[in-house]
Subunit: 369 residues, 2 copies
Amino acid sequence: MAVTGPTSGQAPPPGDGAQGRGLRPASILDVAAAAGVSYQTVSRVINGHPNVKPATRELVLAAIQQLGFRPNRAARLLRGGLARSVTVLTPNTSLYGYQAALQGIEEAARAAGFAVGVRVVESAVPAEVADAVTRAIGPGGSLIVIAYDQAGRMTLDAVPPDIPMMAMVEAPASDPGPERPWVWLDDRKAAVEATRYLLSLGHSTVHYLAIPSSTHASQRQAGWREALEEAGAPVPAPRQCGWTPRSGYEAGQALATDPAVTAVLCGNDDLALGVMRAMHAAGRAIPGDVSVVGFDDMPVAEFLTPPLTTVRLDFAELGRVCFALLLALMERKETLPHVRRPEPELIIRESAGRHQLPRGSGMTRAAGT
Amino acid sequence: MAVTGPTSGQAPPPGDGAQGRGLRPASILDVAAAAGVSYQTVSRVINGHPNVKPATRELVLAAIQQLGFRPNRAARLLRGGLARSVTVLTPNTSLYGYQAALQGIEEAARAAGFAVGVRVVESAVPAEVADAVTRAIGPGGSLIVIAYDQAGRMTLDAVPPDIPMMAMVEAPASDPGPERPWVWLDDRKAAVEATRYLLSLGHSTVHYLAIPSSTHASQRQAGWREALEEAGAPVPAPRQCGWTPRSGYEAGQALATDPAVTAVLCGNDDLALGVMRAMHAAGRAIPGDVSVVGFDDMPVAEFLTPPLTTVRLDFAELGRVCFALLLALMERKETLPHVRRPEPELIIRESAGRHQLPRGSGMTRAAGT
DNA sequence: GCCTTTGTTGTGAACGTTCACAATCCTGGC
DNA sequence: GCCAGGATTGTGAACGTTCACAACAAAGGC
């Protein structure tokens, strides 16, 4: 009995003055009746079709206003139009990189009049991933997959080929041709820059803390190794961590016991934060005893103590670029616009400094700043 | 000419074996033809209707599998069903509170089989807000408005009364009856606790840095004032800040010049972070010279130097609760389930300590930890 | 063996919109 | 004054699904 049912019965009395509230929302037909024109004319007005007499248009507009008419999206979609919507499939919404990417996508999508959906894909079980993808696909909709880790990569593979899709990945798989619906940051270059910088400060080598990766040899790790080898520096075993400050803290506790460790490159800023905390707690000064560099440049990095030297990775911009490409993909086929992908940028602050004791040992106090 | 048009022509040849790929996605009719039953039987199978002979069901299921059939959501919606989708209207996706709320909502929604949309409402211009709301409303869909600031409050008011909606607000407007579709955290209590704690440490008063608020007298500010007055402590003028660490840094620079400032309560952790940085830069030790307390307990708070004392505000849980209420609202009318709202919790770490010099002045060095 | 009941399947209509095409109304040239 | 041609408006059909109801088959009571 409740207040549900606008099911049975005829359409509301046409031409009948005001509200029409409570029951079924006004349709194109109600507007047509109210304005004394045909439904097709109403359709033309709401779609901005040119061939409508101004006077008629006014009439229809007034009726729309009066009835509070909003076009029914489902009906439009059913007829076959583009949905003007994207769903973002991501493993996470709170970690900085994912979150910034989502923000960029949302901005660009909103500017283009697109609705954006979010769906977190937690599992890496193939059946569950497939189910998540299926549910995320709406009629006429499109997808952006954030595929920085294994689950993401699996998600990517589960998307049917006829769905318009873009993906943010760690690196292109094989051919980096412009046709691939992928977008990525130059992680390798970022890592090379950071490592070279630390080396230039006099550190004999640089230790690396890895975040989870979609591939076995991540680009950041590869860049780090490359820079080390190019300088003829020893390559310590990288240490696999998670994403969180806590994970960095734990790794930092271990690293702090080894006096040979004077420079640590961390897979992201959260890790770096944890490492700095652990070092501080262990009585190792930063940057006096140990230099720490991160990736991302998240907003808090600048205000840490000490301010974090890091490689800025503009995920928000990458998200915007990604959406722009998706849009192009949906509108024309074949030819994609040339968009500039954001370049990583080393931001030098205070968490990395000159190596104090070239080779000796013993206690040392921070100099410098 | 391009690769677009599955428009003209008849339906694909029924009973025709395999794929049917490339063109129009398979419909209920295609499945029916393939399985040799009527479309209605197919409908019954995909909706789990009981009265279908098991053998028939198998037949249909096989055909669905083979054709890769996915029910068209638009068509279902058009017929009048619930959309099982929520759109979150939020002023922001990157600030911790909003982001955590979104995360909680997404989790709960996904568990309930709901799709979730996000739309940022940037403007506070009435017309633009109304437009944003209109666009966010899909057929059969529902809304969650995050209304902690002025724009959010305005958004809330722009939602038509017939749309199922929930809102996360700073505090209930007038009557806190259980019927309001609102959900909130006990900000006042949180602020009282934090302020009392600082006072208990021997500080003669507590300075307050305000984040933007939806009301003129925010709950956090009210709680702070209340605790101060209850203790007979002087009430310094609160300082209006933004949301970001930078904003906190700037406020901190000003505060650092005043030796009378020994305790600062910050509207959120980002502000606290900035204040700590500014104090440190100005040579004021934390917690030796100045105690700092924040709100939120964002993930990095524990790993700052020093670790931040703060009041944990569980926005993720609040998001889950909010969604649960929305769901109840959509399913039955009238009676809402009794859900427990998360309580604020003071997390004592190291950024606040005993006041060192009861009243005197001069230089001081940090004691304690 | 007939009639009622229950289970299973099929047919028609409707949801709100847009596309294709047909119909009507002007406007102006001859 | 008649007709070509453009502008404007209207009609029919279709998109894929579900609801209401009808039809048919199977099963059980007498």
